[in-house]
Amino acid sequence: MRQRYALLLCSLVGLASCVGIIGDSGDERAAAAAFAPAEPTLHRLTRPQLQNAWLDLFGHPLAVPGDLPVDDVLYGFSSISASRSTIAPVDAEKYEKATYEVLDQVFADPARRDALVGCPVTAVGEPCVKDFIASFTTRAWRRPASEEEVASLQVLSADVATDLVDAAQGLKFALAAVLLSPHFLFRVEVGEPADAGYRYTSWEMASRLSFLLLDAPPDETLREAARRGELATAEGVRAQASRLLDDPRARVTLTRFFRDFMNIGKLDALDKQPEKFPQLSATLGPSMRVEMERMFENIVFEKEGDFRDMFTTRDTYVNEELARVYGIEGVTGPEWMPVTLPDDGQRAGILTTPGFLALNAHKTQTSPTHRGRFVRLNLFCQDIPPPPPGINTTLPEPEPDKPTTLRQRLDEHRTNAECAGCHERMDPIGFAFEKFDAIGAYREVDENGLPVDSSTEVDGHAVAGPIDMAELVASLPEVGACIARRFYEHAGAHLAGKGDKNSVEELVTDFVASDYRFKDLVLALVTNDGYRYASKPSQEEVKP
């Protein structure tokens, strides 16, 4: 079936044009041919990145402060928000408070403090302490600290030591100036002039790679590679990225990308009506998320398989509460166990997981619109404009003696010309999943006892039900292209625009050529010019 659909759609050559990047019209395509990567930007460390950076500097045990600014999401990714956000007054307060909480733990124990520094901190003027400030700053700022920078930190430590009559306190406050610095709280990337324009420096690439793959600062091997300038070439970058992909933390970090990609972090606050769904518990939402993440890990890291199998696999993991939603018997306790779902035509892959189905539904009711919208937006990378203002969006209420299915009522949207344009694109996809209720449990009849119809038609393809829909999604070239594009956007922390067109097309081609192996997508991305190069930062006055 996969092949049948693939033939009907875009040829491989034109893949990226399926992705819907602006600039698809003839004129714009010609104009977009020029390679114009994004300007470099400051990337504010996310909460896990900041916490890992503290742990990297101080090691365990460390009670890592949790009261930190929230990681917002823009266009699906916290990475994109981190490249746009500013530090509000209340954020600066939180950073300051947390930084002293960290430092106070280390400095409360003289033995630990001296072990960190490498000598007893008796006077801040000691060469050993001075050297420590330099090496600590280099590590914290992820690039060599200049002599001037180190000298000013030494002056600060001496002044405070004198005022507080305490050398160790002098050092502590100097370290605070390192940890509250924009060089620590942000990944500072400027780039340098290079052959094909502006290229990220070896030190900047070390951080780009490490935070992208591990959510942590560069380790000693990466720093050494940066020192030697090895990350200015694609080969050098590829070698280090291959090494990092084998780090167990890469699995955690790339799974976090998948969490953003599927928007399933929201499952941790699953909000459904308990009266209607007796299967609910406080941990059901997180369990739904974990199941989906395990599917991703299984296909990407264990099987190292074709990413599109995510949509068709019947192999998954359940614990007792999730098994109840699936209707699988004999699973007890919170432990996860692998299961292969029955070949009964009901479920296959990520789009029939309770997590996907519950997230894209309301508190009591399903939402074919939301399920379809997610697939269009996030898996096809297509856009759905919002309803025009002034339109009454309330669905017609069924007459009391004539109950109708949600699907029948949604048909109203599609007979109304003003609504049809968009709902025609969303609802039919969602109808394929109508046999799963608002928490993803299977049903043959709806809340009114009416039989549910899950046959539908999507972009000219007849779809018999959820399995058919899953197969269709797996077969569409748009989907692989969309995943590559979304990873590109996450990694570069900006939406792919005209100047990225060639880079994205190249990445998609590489992904296809690797038979959709996600790890190969990662390697193709980090060596992609769109990831390694930048445009010269504009100094023009910013206009709103």
Binding site: E39, T41, L42, D67, V70, D72, L74, Y75, R84, S85, T86, I87, A88, P89, V90, D91, A92, E96, E149, S152, L153, L156, D163, L164, Q169, F173, A176, A177, L180, S181, P182, H183, V188, V190, D271, P274, H362, K363, Q365, D383, I384, P385, P386, P389, G390, I391, N392, T393, T394, L395, E397, L495, A496, G497, S538, Q539, E541, V542, K543, P544
Partner: protein, 453 residues
């Protein structure tokens, strides 16, 4: 407050913040008007500082049970109307109806920016059709805050609290936050609202006293960091430079508190956390705790400008107490006429506003109470959620503004510019504005009917 010497940097900040490098809808001469020839604050004879507040609730109202039937003084409504909850305070409450969003319309986004900032929303990254927005111009609480800081620094330039927990995550900062600093180039520059009463208490009232030496050490660190930021700015593009300006401002705010001792505030008790009971959010309890803390913070001079995000634009908060089982946004789009649950939910929301107003009214403030010396603008991004309509916007102006506001009046102008209400609210807090708003939201005519004569 007597006229004080203007601090040059903060006055510059005010101008920069308000104009934001943007189309200058508010001209410099107005601000020069605030000052006399000696660079001192505009002497308006005000003895007690007026506070400014922005109180926002999401998703509009149920219009047939909102608008008072008659215009003019002494408004009243039938008991089943939402505003009946405010009748006991109507001496302090004026109702504004009929005004419209004038900037290009878009469900939620345009209304949110128009009623909070007087300007259009800014779509971030014009690459996809999907709209993700932030406010292009500062929200009015920040306009007031900049002005107040230019007169005399307060320990906190502004304070931001929230009541309900729900935050949109898919459509940008407009759906998550209330207080915005404006955006010149698609950066997101917000003042996040604290939603946990415990955390708000902890931040404002539960600080250990630092020794002068430790405060000096902290100040040295912040100085060093400011120096690092300025040096770094020289190597960056214009957009990142702009982002770091906010970082500088945020650090200087902490520093200013180290330099200026915070006045005496009686430490309240920790309100604690408010976990859901039977999966129901404890909205009334949280509103009470936040209202109490905000009234105290205003009373003891921690700030003169505040915002309360009762619920977000497009909020999915569940008003279970009126029988709702789904989030309000979804309920708005599915509940059939006559929209009974929405009607009841708005009525409940007004009872929560009533608690806050009551708290202010019962907090003594010099010769009167806090509500006497406040100008609080209450608004929502839509007229009614099910149509996303942005005409006949529901708006309230609460407080006497230190004698500047009349109260107890229903003003209506069909199709008038929404910014007129914002301008009037700011004037009510003492900002000597003769024009306000941005682009299509630019106006020169305040609602004089609501001002005291």
């Amino acid at each position: 407050m007597s006229a004080r010497k203007i601090e040059r940097p903060s006055r510059r900040l005010f101008l920069r913040g308000l104009l934001g490098g943007a189309a200058v809808a508010v001209g410099l001469p107005i601000f020069e008007m605030m000052l006399n020839d000696h660079g001192e604050a505009f002497a308006d004879g005000e003895a007690i500082p007026t506070r400014f507040g922005l109180w926002f609730f999401g998703n509009g109202v149920h219009l047939p049970s909102w608008t008072p039937p008659t215009v003019g003084p002494d408004w009243t409504v039938p008991e089943d109307f939402a505003l009946s909850q405010l009748l006991p305070y109507r001496e302090y409450v004026s109702v504004i109806s009929g005004l419209s969003v004038k900037s290009p319309r878009h469900p939620h986004h345009s209304g949110m920016s128009a009623v909070c900032s007087g300007g259009p929303h800014l779509k971030i990254d014009d690459v996809r059709d999907t709209i993700v927005s932030t406010m292009k111009y500062p929200s009015v609480d920040q306009v007031a805050a900049q002005y107040f800081q230019s007169l005399a620094p307060n320990p906190y330039k502004s304070l931001e609290a929230a009541v309900t927990r729900f935050r949109g995550t898919d459509e940008g900062t407009s759906f998550q936050y209330l207080s915005h600093n404006g955006s010149t180039s698609g950066e997101t520059n917000v003042n996040p609202s604290e939603e946990s009463p415990h955390a708000f208490f902890d931040r404002l009232f539960n600080k250990g006293a630092g020794s002068p030496q430790v405060d000096r050490a902290r100040a040295s660190v912040l100085d060093a960091v400011s120096g690092q930021i300025k040096t770094l700015q020289g190597r960056l593009g214009a957009k990142d430079k702009q982002r770091l300006e906010q970082h500088l401002t945020s650090i200087s705010e902490i520093e200013s508190r180290l330099n200026v001792p915070i006045g005496e505030c009686n430490k309240p008790s920790d309100p604690g956390a408010f976990p859901d009971l039977a999966s129901n959010e404890q909205i009334a309890e949280k509103n009470k705790a936040m209202s109490d803390l905000m009234a105290l913070a205003l009373s003891c001079g921690l700030t003169r400008s505040f915002s309360i995000l009762y619920s977000t634009c497009g909020s999915g908060a569940v008003f279970w107490m009126v029988g709702a089982t789904d989030g309000q946004h979804y309920m708005n789009h599915t509940e059939p006429a006559p929209y009974t649950k929405q009607k009841d939910a708005v009525r409940f929301t007004m009872s929560q506003l009533a608690y806050f107003l009551d708290r202010l009214k019962n907090t003594p403030d010099a010769t009167g109470n806090l509500l006497d010396h406040s100008s609080i603008f209450v608004c929502t991004e839509h007229t009614e959620g099910w149509t996303h309509s942005q005409d006949d916007l529901p708006m309230l102006l609460c407080g006497k503004g230190g004698g500047r506001l009349r109260g107890n009046y229903h003003y209506r102008q069909d199709g008038g510019n929404a910014s007129r209400a914002l301008m009037t609210a700011l004037r009510g807090a003492g900002l000597p504005l003769t024009e306000f708003g941005h682009e299509e939201g630019y106006v020169k005519d305040p609602i004089v009917e609501l001002e005291a004569t």
